[in-house]
């Protein structure tokens, strides 16, 4: 696994640091001192010399040759497994971060884990699920400045038995494109340094505990499941989606469904059954926060009513659901011979290879035709690949 030229100085004070981030212990050894310094600077309150070494996630950064112009290159290992390598100095820290994430995914099967930001609002847990580039971290940063409590910007860790959302209060990873927003929000970057993340380009880090002592939430029940998108508009839009749609979206974003196995879908089924589910188009930061809080302050019934207000979705797949009668009402209608409003059938599929596919929709399906069974307005490739009803060109 390691080349002959790689060296590591175990527990050299300048090249070793141990932290406890929430309930997760991390031991970092590095041939690159800058990484240890940065880790210690980003997590100053989390440093812990008492964390049990055996249980800690072991991260190692090993020097591994030089580039053609003579710069040193590094490889990163998490619990002995290579995460990525041949990185120059400013590309190493994001790999360390990702190595920690990967080990949490691999180790912590007591949690059903989703690719999502997780926050708590007035004691109610909210999952903002979606692929990279959906603005999850920026949204989490925004909401923190409005009094929401932070759980994580990359994971929703759902306890499989209690269905509570647990915190992994890692530093928020902010892309360069959102630096200005984060600075306007008054959040301090932990280091005045740019790091290079392979998938995102330049990134910086914000420690949630820099926002306030109570910025991190305790385990909390999940009340809201949302699928954010960022379309570049200024007006935020929030629309309810069905719980089944949310469930398929969560399944698609699930990191460790293979570890959980057959229990994955029943857990997701239980999870969404107690939640209100939405699609969120993120707009101007404070308008987005205001819209979210106004909506979530209402009851589930009020959420539907709220959808008719300006700034929320009033047309499309969700408009019809506002008039969907409750189950009791439906049974009563059928009993007296009345007929239910008809909605064209829709069948969506999600195959194994589509999980984590970079689709433009939270449920991994075409975002234009689908849920209502309406025809696609555009002949996008997305539709032809994924719209199971087969109507799109």
């Amino acid at each position: 696994m390691s080349s002959g030229s790689e060296t590591t100085a175990p527990n050299d004070p300048g090249r070793f640091v141990r932290c406890r981030i929430g309930e997760f212990s991390v031991a970092l050894r590095s041939d690159l001192k800058q990484v240890v310094d940065d880790f210690a600077a980003i997590y100053p309150r989390e440093r812990s010399d008492t964390a049990a070494e055996g249980q800690a996630i072991q991260i190692e950064v090993r020097r591994s040759g030089r580039s053609r112009i003579g710069r040193p290159l590094y490889r990163v290992y998490a619990d002995g497994e290579e995460v990525g390598g041949w990185q120059r100095g400013n590309g190493v820290f994001p790999l360390v971060e990702w190595g920690i994430n990967l080990r949490i995914i691999a180790r912590r099967s007591e949690y059903l884990q989703f690719h999502a930001a997780s926050m708590a609002f007035q004691g109610n847990g909210a999952i903002f699920a979606g692929d990279s580039g959906r603005g999850k971290s920026t949204l989490a940063a925004l909401l923190m400045t409005r009094g929401w409590q932070y759980l994580c910007d990359e994971f929703a860790l759902v306890d499989c038995s209690t269905l509570k959302l647990h915190a992994f209060p890692k530093a928020l990873c902010i892309k360069a494109g959102s630096y200005a927003i984060v600075r306007r929000l008054g959040l301090p970057f932990a280091r005045r340094r740019d790091y290079i993340k392979q998938s995102k380009g330049r990134v910086g880090y914000v420690n949630p505990r820099d926002v306030g002592p109570d910025a991190v939430a305790e385990p909390t029940a999940i009340r809201y499941v949302m699928f954010p998108t960022y379309a570049g508009g200024t007006t935020p839009r929030l629309g309810p989606i069905s719980r089944a749609e949310a469930a398929i979206g969560l399944f698609r974003c699930c990191f460790n469904r293979h570890a959980i196995g057959d229990d994955t879908l029943p857990i997701i089924q239980r999870l969404v059954s107690g939640a209100s589910c939405f699609r969120l188009e993120v707009g101007e930061p404070h308008a987005t926060g205001t819209l979210l809080e106004a909506t979530l302050n209402t009851s589930p019934r009020g959420v539907e009513a709220h959808a008719a207000r300006p700034g929320t979705m009033t047309t499309g797949p969700h408009a019809r659901r506002e008039h969907t009668p409750s189950l009791t009402t439906r049974r009563e209608m059928l009993r007296v011979g009345a007929k239910l409003a008809y909605v064209a059938p829709s069948v969506l599929t999600l195959s194994a290879h589509q999980v984590f596919a970079a689709a433009s929709d939270p449920s991994g399906i075409c975002s234009t035709a689908k849920h209502t069974g309406q025809l696609c307005e555009t002949d996008t490739d997305c539709c032809s690949r994924q719209c199971a009803i087969g109507i799109c060109k």
Partner: protein
């Protein structure tokens, strides 16, 4: 008159069977059958103009259609591959959520999201004929029989293509 004016939107997608069909008709219950038949010529769909000679999906003559005893066959818009009496496979897992459901096929590892109507159709797939499924739908929902039959046929075909029905129940209608 454009296709949109007539209530049919452009769509010349092909199902696995290769026959050009008007899938849009499935989703637009108010489209009269003659329009569906007219628009079955996929090569005419590009310019938005109606073809001069209507084509039929079944390949039958109008007389043959008229003699048929099966309503859907007579109408000429039964999906060529839809099973006549679909029966759900017993090992397929079903997770109802409100009025909708997720259906997971452990063999293919494909997850299906069925909306309320598709789930209502799926629930009834216990060996009943498609016409019975459609009839059940019209009893519960405010939908006309032709639309219901068309929708049921399409949903059954999609699910059958996914392999969700027991093979012994498959009874492909030859048209």
């Amino acid at each position: 008159m454009t296709e949109r004016d007539r209530g049919v939107r452009r769509c010349d997608a092909k199902l696995p069977f290769g026959a050009p069909v008007i899938e849009s008709a499935v989703l637009d219950g108010d489209v009269p059958k003659d329009v569906i038949a007219e628009w079955s010529g996929a090569d005419h769909l590009n310019d938005g103009e109606l073809p001069a000679t209507p084509k039929r999906l079944t390949g039958r003559t109008a007389e043959e259609d008229a003699r048929g005893t099966d309503t859907s066959e007579r109408c000429g818009w039964r999906r060529p591959g839809a099973s006549a009496s679909p029966t759900r496979r017993t090992d397929v897992r079903e997770y109802p959520i409100d009025d909708e459901a997720l259906v997971y096929d452990p063999q293919t590892q494909v997850l299906y999201h069925l909306n309320e109507t598709a789930f209502a159709i799926w629930r009834r797939c216990d060996g009943r004929r498609i016409e019975e499924l459609a009839s059940g739908l019209t009893e519960e929902y405010d939908v006309n029989p032709e639309t219901a039959l068309d929708h049921v046929s399409t949903v059954v075909e999609i699910l059958e293509t996914g392999g969700l029905f027991a093979p012994e129940a498959t009874n492909v209608v030859r048209v």
